[in-house]
Subunit: 160 residues, 2 copies
DNA sequence: TATGCCCCTTACGTTAACGTCAACAGTCGC
DNA sequence: GCGACTGTTGACGTTAACGTAAGGGGCATA
């Protein structure tokens, strides 16, 4: 591949990635142990590239949707373009399709769960409003919570 | 509550629920240990009511969307209408709201994951079609898999 | 009455995904 | 030269959610 020398080619230390994504060094090393990441080295120290960072993003998102590290690894391996054992890939294809079906089901489950939680919240709120209105959280609190949550994720946009 | 004596009032054995929902007796007893289920007893034996079954459905769905048993228990407790410690409930309300935000994020994650898996599948398929078309699964297989998956869940509809 | 099936409890084992701790190395500022 | 900080590699500990095995009772069927 040409044209690899220019362009920032920025790298990251383990701590940078950790603070960016609220992970721990232990976790990143663990992912490496499991073959999900393979950062370069500068002497002893790990050096993460943009590609590594992108993989990490995928890993973390995979985790959020309930994939095991094992499953995530299989997915990531598709991004390495070695076409080694083709029958292996045929197997992967099948598993991926199954996983998609799973995820679609899960999406429905989440819809349902959200709806029930909303309903539960409403009932709780009514109940509280009637008996202990003093305990009702201020709308402002909720607002701020939401913003904090978004802050945590906004840097992710535009990645990959 | 009147009118409780008529109506089938059907009950279930542990194994019936297990086969219906593809769980294990161990799991159901475990949920009971953790306070998520409290079936009646006939001598030593557990007797599950419709209500228990409904709770189990919620438990399993909660699990599928990544809730911990602890979190599920908190949700289920809302369905018991004891208004004991009100401040506790105020706390619950806050946690539920957070959970909703979580789930909304998770739903987005799942969308993304589904899209990427689809893309990966397509690439894989192309790759296979070019080099080893013999390994491509028949469309019929996929179709049957889908149907099997749906069968597993259809009895759930109309429950709760 | 023996065999099988389902149920029970108790208790120890297991897996995934890290946390935590010890012991040591490189480097920066003073 | 010395903390302080950040990094490293083991190695053992931990939590959740069960699995599995041991030991025993209840009821039916051959």
């Amino acid at each position: 591949m040409p044209s690899e020398l220019r362009r920032p080619e920025r790298t990251f230390t383990i701590r940078q990635l950790c603070t960016e994504f609220k992970a721990t060094p232990r976790a990143l090393r663990f992912y490496e142990d499991k073959g999900l990441l393979t950062p370069a080295r500068d002497g002893m120290n790990r050096v993460y590239s943009y590609k590594d960072r992108a993989r990490l993003i995928l890993i973390l998102r995979g985790k959020r949707v309930g994939l095991s590290l094992q499953e995530i690894r299989e997915i990531l391996e598709l991004y390495g373009e070695h076409d080694e054992a083709m029958t292996q890939n045929a197997h992967s294809l099948k598993k991926f399709r199954e996983k998609i079906v799973d995820l679609e089901q899960q999406r429905e489950d989440i819809e349902g769960a959200i709806n029930e939680l909303r309903a539960a919240c409403e009932r709780l709120e009514k109940h509280l409003a009637a008996k202990r209105p003093d305990l009702l959280p201020k709308a402002a609190d909720y607002d701020q919570m939401l913003r904090a949550r978004l802050d945590g994720h906004q840097e992710l946009a535009g990645a990959k």
